[in-house]
């Protein structure tokens, strides 16, 4: 353990990228072999060219005599609360080299991060281990943003998929092979039978590609019912969507859909990562409460037509009844949202669910899928 006179935590520098990329690849992703160049490019782009960069809220490394022994990626995001700007520092990729774990590098990295100049320190995809560590350091699990909804689109295949995730590989392959004909028939019936809770309904809404300027306009219209919401601008959203499309962090393709009624009025929108034959992950759904049911119907049909077997997203506490009515079920599995602030007002807002926060607004959307 180091003496207190030397603080080994310092801001990430571009020269650290090769070592950080190795940590990311070998420790976080548990991969072997040499780190692909695309991982270095990902680290470079995410931490040195993101549009929210703020030198006072840097990513951090734990430097042990020139060796990067640990890394904590930090991405600032801009939000507004009660007319005032809010600086949020999202902590994301977090890894310590196994040979250096007894330096307690992880604790030092987190402590330095928490002591930064941000109004809120937050993460939106912590696992159980990170959650325990963060809570001990003073973070709070924000339950309203840690509840996830799941909606089966092809229920038989979704069930097989879920079993496969907990079963052995040999059993999984056999199960998939044997059950496929049955699943195809069962899923066809589920989508078409009028009594089925998974029936796909034809929406009366009209879909078009959601562009950045329209999304900014939509969010500014709908966000005002909340006390904390993201500040979007065209350059940052353009960068974000381009990043998500290229990195494929949570799916093969990004679908961005704007919905209008017969009169041409915008009623809502959604953004999701499509995985054909897998669970599609929803990044954001917007619109009025009154029309959310129709927006969800449209989303379900779109993802079903595109080949997804189920949808998964984070819940908005105010709208859970509608998700429930649309035969979604709820789970806490999908990543914990935790926050820490020295300003108690922000924690009250988050804990009451009074924030327009989606997976587009944190670090979930900044994942690398390679």
């Amino acid at each position: 353990m180091r003496g207190r006179t030397h603080m080994p935590v310092r801001p990430l520098a571009e020269a650290d990228i090769p070592q950080v990329a190795d940590l990311y690849w070998k420790v976080l992703r548990e991969r072997t072999g040499s780190t692909p160049p695309s991982v270095r490019a990902f680290i470079q782009e995410l931490y040195f060219t993101n549009p929210w960069m703020d030198a006072s809220l840097p990513s951090l490394v734990y430097d042990d005599k020139g060796t990067v022994a640990g890394f904590l990626g930090v991405v600032p995001r801009r939000m507004t609360s009660q007319g005032k700007p809010v600086r949020i520092a999202y902590g994301g990729n977090f890894a310590v080299h196994p040979d250096f774990r007894t330096t307690l590098a992880g604790l030092h990295l987190l402590r330095t991060y928490m002591g930064g100049g941000q109004d809120l320190s937050q993460t939106d995809s912590a696992n159980d281990t990170s959650r325990a560590l963060l809570e001990r350091l003073g973070f709070t699990t924000i339950l309203p943003f840690s509840v996830h909804w799941v909606r089966a689109l092809r229920p038989a295949r979704a069930l097989t998929y879920a079993i496969a995730r907990v079963a052995q590989r040999s059993l999984t392959d056999s199960l998939a092979f044997i059950s496929k004909p049955f699943c195809d028939i069962a899923d066809k019936l589920a989508a078409t039978l009028s009594s089925s809770p998974f029936r796909q309904v034809q929406s009366r809404l009209h879909a078009s590609e959601l562009d950045v300027d329209t999304l900014i306009s939509c969010v500014s219209q709908f966000r005002n019912q909340y006390n904390l919401f993201p500040e979007y601008d065209a350059p940052s959203l353009t960068w974000l969507f381009s990043f998500m499309e290229r990195m494929k962090g949570h799916g093969q393709r990004l679908r961005k859909i704007l919905l209008r009624d017969d009169s041409g009025t915008v009623v809502g929108w959604y953004v999701y990562y499509l995985t054909v034959g897998g669970f599609a992950d929803v990044a954001q759904i917007g619109g009025s409460r009154k029309q959310l049911g129709e927006i969800l119907d449209h989303l379900f049909r779109d993802a079903w037509q595109e080949g997804a077997i189920a949808l998964h997203g984070t819940s908005d506490r105010r709208l859970m009844d509608i998700y429930s009515d649309k035969n979604c079920f709820f789970t806490c599995r999908g990543g914990w949202t935790l926050a820490h602030s020295r300003k108690p007002g922000f924690m009250d807002i988050l804990n009451s669910g009074d924030a327009f926060l989606s997976r587009l607004d944190g670090e979930w959307c900044l994942a690398f899928g390679g």
């Binding site: 310590v96 007894t102 330096t103 987190l110 001990r136 350091l137």
Partner: protein
């Protein structure tokens, strides 16, 4: 809680190490540092802090947690906290 002798203190700290890391408590002495205990990493440190809290009936804040750099520091912090409890 009354005052505890150094031996008693180290004995309880050893018990907390056994509870947190499932190791031979006799392997712990006043000079033990994290690199002497393979599972004493950040997560282990948090577990150890909880075991110490339980053993001594104390609560550690984040600054205490960060200052517990080795067994010597743990002894110092626990002694100091016990003193505060006693004088309260």
């Amino acid at each position: 809680m009354g005052s505890v002798s150094n031996e008693e203190l180290l004995g309880k700290i050893r018990g907390a190490f056994k509870s947190a890391f499932d190791i031979d408590p006799q392997a712990i002495n006043i000079n033990t540092v994290p690199s002497d205990v393979s599972s004493w990493d950040s997560m282990g440190h948090v577990t150890l802090a909880s075991s110490l809290e339980q053993a001594f009936g104390l609560t550690f804040d984040v600054d205490d947690l960060m200052a517990m750099e080795n067994v010597k520091e743990i002894c110092r912090i626990v002694q100091s906290k016990l003193g505060q409890v006693q004088s309260a």
